[in-house]
């Protein structure tokens, strides 16, 4: 495969930016949701759970469309965000990041929830008797013990955002240099007869990107795994 063209570099860098911002931005709320779902019982829990799963269940185009309805510049919420904070999403790379974040959310929540459910609560109570309040217990015990899940969430979420198409194109449009991420470029290429080579190149770039993410995550997992060892008594 010959070297990337400047256009392809641009698309790749934009995709990386969008995915990275999406994943890092959605990580804290996703963890909070995972924690709520894993640890708390409250009325409406199943409703919250469904809401989290929604972007998975609906076709992405519908999700994009709902985002457009909710956050379009002519809609109340969108107008408010714009006038109060100067935030616009529509037609901006931030919109692409938001769409990617929303689509990645359910995967990330599930992965982290699964890990949190596996954390031995007895270790948390041990931390409490040693003088750690709720927050320190969380930061020093709960979070590191669910590091596996956080890492899995990052990988899954990143891969999902790198591949996100339907919601992005519907909500943020397909503007070269602003919102045209890899899948959108691939889609454009797919529409043209005989552009299979270009599709293959762009798909190759996507795969390379997420392979890199995987390698990094495996390396991190190995490091923390070595550190961790297994439960004792």
């Amino acid at each position: 495969m010959p070297a990337l063209s400047p256009d392809e570099w641009g698309i790749l860098l934009l995709s990386m930016k969008v995915s990275a911002v999406a994943i890092l931005g959605v990580l804290p709320p996703a963890f909070a949701l995972a924690w709520l779902l894993a640890r708390r019982e409250f009325p409406g829990k199943i409703v919250l759970d469904s809401l989290v799963h929604l972007p998975l269940v609906l076709p992405p185009v519908v999700t994009g469309w709902l985002l457009l309805i909710a956050l379009g510049t002519n809609e109340p919420v969108g107008r408010f965000l714009q006038s109060a904070f100067g935030i616009t999403f529509v037609f901006r790379w931030t919109g692409a990041a938001l769409a990617a974040a929303v689509m990645a959310l359910p995967l990330m929540v599930r992965a982290m929830r699964l890990s949190l459910e596996g954390v031995d609560r007895r270790l948390e109570s041990a931390a409490r008797t040693l003088g750690a309040g709720r927050w320190r217990t969380f930061a020093a015990v709960t979070l590191p013990l669910s590091a596996n899940g956080v890492l899995a969430a990052l990988v899954l979420g990143f891969a999902r955002s790198v591949g996100e198409f339907g919601a992005t194109i519907t909500f943020a449009s397909n503007i070269p240099g602003e919102t045209q991420t890899l899948p959108l470029a691939i889609y454009s290429a797919l529409q043209v007869p005989g552009a299979e080579w270009q599709v293959a190149r762009l798909a190759g770039i996507s795969v390379a990107l997420s392979l890199a993410a995987l390698v990094i995550s495996e390396w991190l997992a190995r490091r923390s795994g070595q550190q961790r060892g297994r439960h004792v008594l």
Partner: protein, 235 residues
């Protein structure tokens, strides 16, 4: 069992309503109602290439039909371009924008300071390609090239306008006509773009005896009348 003998029609997604109406018309004449799969022309063409057992292909542009023909996937002498469409400039219903579509029109100004022009992808989707041709012919392409909001399909562009996310958009006349949320500002001159035509053809591997009958119905006066009802031109 009628489904056995009903032909399978692959039709461009933008023909959703009209083609269903045509199939109903055909069924009313005592034939099994064709089964229709609506998707992007590109997707359908690739399925035909992969050997999908379909009978009739109705594409939203000539490009993919050419491709199929080149690969001998069409029954010879069954290809007919039977529908025409026009390209229009639309604005949200409530918008008061006025603009006469002509050479040198101030399109960028009409978009306002931040507005974007909703179109279908101008490098790939037929409606977008036509829009680019027209804008180029009218000398407006360089004004708006950086102000586009390309959607995944004409429908996406239409939705952006009718939701007010974009102040203007370029879509097919048939779409604009059907959407109460938008107002047609003007029609692009027919000569500013390649003819917008919809070809139909039989697929080479088709064994269904009903298929040819349905194709003939589509291109008959009766069939064309159905499509005219949805705003298509016929030829």
């Amino acid at each position: 069992q009628p489904t056995r003998t009903a032909p399978l029609v692959l039709a461009a997604a933008s023909l959703q309503e009209s083609m269903n109406a045509a199939a109903d018309g055909w069924a009313r004449k005592g034939h099994p109602r064709p089964r229709i799969s609506f998707a992007a022309s590109s997707a359908l063409a690739r399925q035909i290439e992969a050997g999908a057992p379909a009978d009739v292909f109705v594409s939203a542009d000539e490009q993919w039909m050419d491709e199929m023909q080149k690969k001998s996937l069409l029954r010879p002498r069954t290809r007919v371009s039977f529908l025409r469409n026009a390209l229009v400039l639309v604005a949200p219903k409530a918008s008061s924008t006025r603009l006469t579509i002509a050479k040198g029109m101030p399109l960028a100004k009409a978009l306002g300071p931040n507005g974007r022009l909703a179109v279908a992808d101008t490098s790939a989707v037929p409606a977008g390609i036509y829009a680019k041709q027209s804008l180029t012919a009218l000398g407006a392409w360089s004004q708006v090239q950086s102000r586009l909001a390309p959607g995944e399909s004409v429908r996406a562009a239409l939705a952006m306008v009718s939701r007010g996310a974009a102040p203007l958009g370029i879509v097919y006349a048939t779409d604009a006509k059907a959407d109460p949320g938008v107002r047609i500002i003007g029609t692009f001159p027919e000569r500013s773009h390649q003819p917008i035509t919809y070809p139909v053809a039989l697929i080479a591997s088709s064994r269904n005896p009903e298929a040819e009958g349905f194709r003939r119905y589509l291109i008959s006066a009766e069939g064309k009348a159905v499509f005219r009802g949805f705003g298509f031109g016929t030829r």
